[in-house]
Amino acid sequence: MMTVLRASGLTVERSDGAPIVEDVSLSLDKGEVMGIVGESGSGKSTLALALLAYARRGVRIAGGSVRVAGTDMLELDAADLRKARREVVAYVAQDPGAALNPMLTLGTLLTEGLAGGRAEKVTRAREILRKVGLPDDEAFLQRRPRQLSGGQQQRIAIAMAVIAKPKLIILDEPTTGLDVSTRAKVLDLIRQLCISDDLTAIYVSHDLAVIANVADHVTVMYGGQVVEQGRMQEVLATPRHPYTRALLDAVPSLQVRQDLRPIRGRVPAVGEAPDGCIFSDRCDYAVDACSTQPALRLVGGTQVRCVRPELAQTFEMRPQAVSRSERQGASRPAVLQADGINAFYGHRQILFDVGLKVEPGRCLAVVGESGSGKSTLSRCLIGLHGNVTGEFRLDGKPLPLTVGERDQHARQRLQYIFQNPNASLNPRRTIGQSLAAALVNRPEASGYGTIIAEALERVGISPDLATRYPAELSGGQRQRVAIARALVANPGVLLCDEVTSSLDVSVQASVIELLRSLLADGLGMLFVTHDLAVVRNIADTVAVLSAGRVVEQGGADKVLSAPSHPYTQSLLANTLQLPTEAVPAIAPRQYVGGSW
């Protein structure tokens, strides 16, 4: 087999010399797909760009070599490098909305790098549009990127990359911002192109499930280093590095409710890596030997950067299913109930006759894709959406529709946690001040300091951090503080709006565990999300929202195991999963083959 990509010793540094990507080697044969997986800050995107001999501002490629189909990318002069980027290696960026120039037509975008006459170029453009499943008429070629949906934009970005028939294509999180069903279609397209055009591809993602579904090989990145590299099935079946293991354990499963294991600590920032093994300060199995940096070595078919990879065999197996903490079948009186909710934006109706019920100690998940009305629903419950009709009941008593009409007690009983941890705390106030602001609404509370300290400890944040500003905390820490702020008000119901979707998977696991423990304390919870695996792991009941209507509602087990509505069925079918326990039995390629 012909080797298309051979990178060795690739090192990328920040201008102050701190390494972002350290000594990475990759090798890929024709027609194969390599997945590069890592959490935010692992250097995976920087690595992807370095393969095109590209470095962002303030960053430089400090060493190593990248040979693609016989071309040494790092040794080319400017003109040859541009030629190589047109014809040898192509790149697809994460967010097509940002990566396609809004001022240019699709025709220009597709053909501007090509040689040849106009007629020839247009023919090529039409051909490629058909291939990626888009219309190929002149009117479509005259459109601009903003006139397309997100999925169409990503198809254009892929078409742009493959139109010159490159030897290697690099996809940097190409499906991350897309809805589940759109994502499935774009992934199908990528798989199809790999087969039909015999494409060699690098697929970068933070999502192990996606990688597992497209890649033959996987490279696990952590803190700028490769910690494990090998064949996909092999790594999934027997992860040898503790980080790989931990990452797999942190991914929630769609099939069973699990004991999720967060990875403690956080990804080291560039230039802050610990001495010795880069993962040692977060590793549960670290020993004295870990204070010297281990080299990558071949163990049983995979490359591992660990002093004692044989240890992997003694790791506990993937966490088993856990039963629900509290499972009375008989329903209790609802803390929060909504009936016949209709909401409008101007004359457009967003929600149609939505009804739901939150019980104490139980979690209701509201599931929907973008545009389903789920954010409008949470704004209605908060009382910040004015244009709404229907009926809310809190503790059995009627609850006014808007926050201005609600009394202090009601405002306290209902607390909210938002999606974006970066904006949920006022950046100009300390953690303690933000929490104290919540206490002002609790006139009976005395001893502010104690209550704040207790709330912080409850969410696993040291009370010492009360004097810090949000910018000094990580995303996960900020989300915990937001939860603490809600707890300070002594609430009956927590409304959680996509609270885990902007967090890394290891951090997500810890937040889910925290929310579960709050459920066990008897809090009622409404959890808005698009992620069915998260639903499986936290919800007792599920309401599926589509185009503003609840299309299916019921117990989480029933809805996720035997969905009755076609929309729920398609959501489930399109949700990607890590192959379960019997990994070797479900080889990714076989699954791929079966899908089309």
């Binding site: 960026a93 809004p102 999925g151 759109t182």
Partner: protein, 334 residues
């Protein structure tokens, strides 16, 4: 394979797009009306009796009274305003109290000179800002860029008459003696016949304008160069010139256009001081003279002309900014 569901709300009706513009225009006309009322009242409130001023101290009470009737000064104020406004709309701007010439004629001279000055200044300013801004952005954080940033901070902080006086000292009176310190243009002649008289006034307007606009261009270019679509264009192997001119500049210029119209408005507003400094015979210096002479019709006419020009450029700036905002909203919804 099916095409993804397509939500295409780009085709906005022509009417829907025009409606805010019409509303804007209507609002603008109301503003102008308010301005004209303000001008009328302010001019009427000027101390000194008009009839007295025209006839001098020796005039008898009867002569004064009959002139007041003739000028309509005995009518109620609102009626006088309507008469005045009607006259303006018909092109009858009254006669100057100080030299008896029709205001419309005087105004025509001033407007031509001022429009020439502003026009020349803008014609140089806009392309120059683009050039300077792009260069500064290309050498971002380098020596050239730092010099530019320092200069632009000073040029933007310092008032026009200071810039102008320094230019005069440099090129006319003290260091070099290559240009006239005073822009003498005989009434009725085209300013283009006296190009050396235009140089210093125009430069005084151009310097702060370029320093302000180029800065915006610099930031816009830097922002655009940092976008993912520029990175994508570079990764597609396009030439640097194509990346800059075809991909970056069209996107960078869009946010500058409203600011450019705003600068045009400021230029028009700033002519008063600059024209006074160089004794340049335009609407600005005419206005200052008229205020000194308490020449009511001339004051009104000049203020109205400057305010209208200022207003028109502001309107353009506003509607361009709104269009950009609308485009931005469309984008974020997509």
């Amino acid at each position: 394979m099916t095409v993804d569901s397509q939500n295409d709300n780009v085709t906005i009706g022509v009417f829907a797009r025009l409606q805010p513009l019409l509303a804007r225009l209507l609002q603008g006309l109301l503003t102008l009306l308010a301005v004209s009322l303000l001008i009328f009242l302010a001019a009427r409130a000027l101390p000194g009796d008009v009839a007295n001023m025209i006839l001098g101290q020796s005039a008898t009470q009867e002569q004064l009274d009959s002139l007041r009737v003739q000028l309509g000064l005995d009518q109620p104020l609102w009626w006088q305003y309507l008469i005045w406004l009607g006259g303006i709309l018909r092109g009858d701007w009254g006669t100057s109290l100080s030299n008896g010439q029709p205001v419309a004629d005087l105004l025509a001279l001033g407007v031509r000179n001022s429009a020439t000055l502003s026009g020349v200044a803008l014609a140089v300013m806009l392309p120059l800002s683009l050039l300077v801004g792009v260069i500064a952005a290309q050498f971002r954080d380098g020596f050239v860029d730092k010099i530019f940033l320092g200069m632009s901070m000073v040029a933007n902080a310092v008032p026009d008459f200071v810039t102008g006086t320094v230019l005069v000292a440099l090129f006319a009176t003290t260091v070099l003696h290559v240009l006239p310190a005073v822009s003498f243009i005989p009434p009725g002649d085209s300013p283009f016949s006296y190009p050396d008289a235009l140089v210093l006034p125009a430069t005084t307007v151009i310097i702060p304008g370029v320093m302000y606009l180029a800065r915006l261009v610099r930031v816009a270019v830097i922002d655009v160069m940092a976008t993912e679509y520029i990175q994508t264009a570079e990764l597609k192997g396009l030439s640097p010139s194509r990346v800059l001119f075809r991909h970056a500049l069209p996107n960078a210029v869009a946010p500058i256009i409203p600011a450019a119209s705003l600068v045009a408005a400021f230029t028009v507003g700033g002519v008063v001081v600059v024209e006074y400094l160089f004794a340049y015979p335009g609407v600005g210096s005419a206005l200052v003279d008229a205020v000194t002479n308490r020449d009511l019709p001339v004051i009104q006419a000049n203020v109205l002309v400057i305010a209208s020009a200022y207003f028109i450029f502001n309107l353009i700036a506003d509607s361009l900014a709104q269009r950009d905002e609308a485009a931005g909203q469309r984008q974020s919804k997509a």
